[in-house]
């Protein structure tokens, strides 16, 4: 198996990793070195910069009440974070990861700095779940960066064989893919094998397949922020399942194909156009009118 062919799909990636006895993140780093003609150190340093911005966005959203440009969102990450200290139903870890994920997307909506992963609208899931898990388990930054490369590999396969945009495939293509990426990263960083990482990725996508993109007023706020919270918990649950030895009946590559086919079947009203779903509820429409009136001001 050649490195250039390793990222054709999940199966080729699994085989490449097996033949070379390396984890997915190592294959991802090697491919990037080859493709970019940069050194390994430069590439790893670049990913550390992404980690730094991710962490800063989590901290900003958890430590202060950020407010979106439209005025529709902000401060809910902080609320959940505070509440989560007192025996939440979803558990301390999941609740904090969810709050961290929301924090990033709130910062995004306030025109703050984030790292798209794979998109801005789904930027909270990987950052929130990985950084919070790392904080609780004492993972080093180098380890977290390895997780980011694993996540990148899964996202890359979705991008090549399906879509990673809400306009192309609905919310499943954004928060669904982000959850898949994150689930795989958590598995590898915890010592799971590539095959387990792929199973975790498959399960996370299966859990939200068909999810539409119906942003109220066309903005990356409602329902995006809370769907990032769900994505983080989805990823953690699927990582736990894979590490427990649970496998996905439908293999990862078939899940990717199915997700793409479903994405194309999702009507255009439900693909980021704000012409259906929550966006066209009476409240959704009223909010859109209110936001539109902002246009005249400044």
């Amino acid at each position: 198996m050649l490195l250039t062919d390793a990222f054709a799909n999940g199966e080729s990636l699994r085989r490449y990793c097996l033949e070379n006895d390396i984890p997915i993140y190592e294959a991802m780093i090697r491919r990037e070195v080859k493709l970019s003609e940069q050194t390994r150190e430069e590439i790893v340093a670049e990913m550390h910069k992404n980690l730094d911005v991710m962490r800063a966005s989590v901290e900003r959203g958890l430590n202060s009440k950020v407010e979106s440009v439209s005025g529709l969102s902000g401060g809910e990450a902080l609320k959940l974070f505070k509440y989560g200290k007192h025996n939440p139903f979803s558990g301390y870890t999941a609740c904090r990861a969810a709050a961290s994920s929301m924090a990033v997307v709130e910062v995004n909506a306030s025109m703050g700095r984030i790292v798209a992963a794979p998109t801005a609208g789904a930027s909270g899931i990987l950052a929130g779940a990985l950084i919070e898990s790392g904080r609780q388990r004492g993972w080093s930054d180098d380890t977290l960066v390895e997780g980011l490369f694993t996540a990148g590999a899964i996202g890359l396969i979705f991008a090549k064989n399906a879509t990673i945009s809400g306009a192309g495939g609905g919310c499943q293509a954004e928060t669904g893919v982000a959850a898949s990426m994150t689930a795989a990263a958590l598995v590898e960083v915890s010592g799971g094998a590539p095959v387990q990482a792929l199973d975790a990725a498959a399960m996370a996508m299966k859990n939200v397949m068909g999810l539409i993109c119906d942003p109220v007023a066309g903005l990356v706020e409602c329902p995006c922020i809370k769907r990032n919270a769900l994505g983080a918990v989805n990823a953690m649950l699927c990582a736990d399942m894979a590490l427990a030895g649970i496998t996905s009946l439908i293999p990862f590559d078939e899940v990717v194909s199915a997700m793409y086919a479903v994405g194309k079947d999702i009507r255009v009203e439900y693909r980021e156009t704000a012409r259906g779903g929550l966006a066209t509820t009476p409240t959704g429409k009223a909010v859109a009118q209110r936001v539109k009136r902002l246009q005249g001001n400044e």
Binding site: N50, A109, S165, E298
Partner: protein
């Protein structure tokens, strides 16, 4: 985009909220600034389609102003772009149009230089922060800004294209994509050349010196 980099997936680092409506808008306007030779005394923006519909909530207006001021998509000051323009004494105006555009995320950027020269650029934000410049001063063009790009305004006469490509070959710069456009036979013409290697300022000066019939050259 078959050969995605891992940083296309984990990245870009950007100022939110939207890769198309914010980051893409910054890039569009920043490229317009470069086409105007980095000389911006005044700037006017018109937003069309989805840019006009949801641009305010996405900060598209601020993003366009920021790009014209030379900011990049991850600049933390994008949010305060109007204030920065005021501080720099650059008048800016934004109009939300209800005219239907070809692409839903379209903006017209009109930059007036300190000598009164006007640069009029039309562009589209095509998704994921990627963009397409489709018009310069009324002339249809097409380039993405993904690669180092030379935009050359030249006389429409035989030999100009050959001379420019010859000089680039001598400089060991490989041409990835090249397109030529003109108003009409023998009139004003443009070529856009997307290259694999950056074209340095020295190289640009060399092209201007060695090639006849070039009126203007911008590197984007």
């Amino acid at each position: 985009m078959e050969d995605f980099s891992v940083f296309d997936i984990i990245g870009p680092r950007m100022t939110g909220p939207s890769s198309s409506h914010t980051a893409g808008a910054v890039r569009l306007s920043h490229i317009a600034r470069k086409i105007a030779g980095e000389d911006v005394a005044e700037a006017a923006f018109t937003l069309y389609g989805s840019f006009a519909e949801t641009g305010k909530g996405h900060g598209t207006d601020k993003a366009l102003v920021a790009g014209a001021l030379g900011m990049d998509p991850d600049d933390p000051r994008i949010k305060e772009a109007f204030d920065v323009a005021r501080e720099q004494g650059i008048p800016v105006s934004v109009e939300f149009s209800d005219q239907p555009p070809k692409h839903p995320n379209t903006a017209r950027i009109v930059i007036t230089g300190s000598d009164g020269h006007v640069t009029d650029v039309l562009g589209e934000s095509v998704g994921g922060g990627n963009i397409l410049i489709t018009e310069i001063n009324g002339l249809d063009v097409e380039f993405s800004g993904e690669y180092p790009t030379l935009v050359i305004q030249h006389d429409d006469k035989p030999g100009v294209i050959a001379e420019v490509s010859h000089v680039l070959a001598q400089l060991n710069v490989n041409i990835a994509f090249m397109r030529v456009f003109r108003h009409g036979k023998g009139e004003d013409a443009y070529m856009t050349i997307e290259t694999d290697q950056p074209v340095t300022q020295e190289m640009q000066a060399m092209i201007l010196r060695l090639c006849s019939g070039i009126n203007k050259l911008f590197a984007v």
